[in-house]
Symmetry: C2
Subunit: 137 residues, 2 copies
């Protein structure tokens, strides 16, 4: 497997882990996914720009307490990587509707850590019928 | 000036050029800003995920024909760079309201080219009272 393919696999693995954490409402898994070394940001649908790891994780704690992300699936995830940073752009299926989302990761040693997540309303819909499996291989 | 500071300046210069192109409705300037070497993506507020340079530029042509981005300003722009890729996260002020936005760039030679733009509704508002100047220095 090419180095690039291996990188993309690792990035998609991190992306799957992100949606698996949302599906389970697993705050510890979510905390493990986000970078501890760079300033992170997050924009939940319709929400303000959240900056800083503690603020972002507090928002996930609140969201998970409400159970609002159970059953979420990621569709049409495409990776754009340049060196040690990558974007994953795609759709999220949640509650019978879709959101458009971008997730950004940086490479930290052998793993890719989340540095930005942004999802918002969309009139679009994924092309792929099968979601990206939320399990981590 | 440190190399990092110089990089951030170049990224913010590209970000300013992006909003200046929107402010002027300048399709040629917009086309020049987007990468021609990697697959680009764009999510306009509430819209579908647009993929590919021609699709993305067609969307800007349509938006500029409607004049809907005149007067846009960028606030609270913060840069996160890792090697040859960077994110700029912030707010857009447009038509008396705000949008939350992320712009992604990759370094191509001496300049930074856009690879992703995503803006959506927000209940947030920028902290800074003065917008990032839309002019390019």
């Amino acid at each position: 497997m090419s180095e690039s393919g291996s990188d993309d696999d690792a990035i998609l693995r991190a992306n799957r882990a992100f949606y698996a954490a949302m599906d389970r409402g697993d705050l510890a898994a979510m905390a493990d996914l986000w970078s501890e070394t760079v300033p992170v940001t997050c924009v939940h649908p319709g929400d303000a720009v959240l900056s800083g790891r503690s603020t972002v994780l507090a928002s996930w704690k609140e969201i998970f307490a409400g159970g609002g992300t159970r059953g979420i699936r990621c569709h049409d995830a495409t990776v754009l990587r340049q060196g040690d940073m990558a974007l994953v752009v795609g759709y999220e299926a949640l509650g019978g509707g879709f959101l458009a989302a971008v997730n950004a990761f940086v490479r930290e040693g052998p793993v890719w850590k989340m540095v930005h997540h942004q999802a918002g309303p969309t009139r679009g819909a994924p092309k792929a019928s099968a979601p990206q499996a939320p399990t981590v291989h």
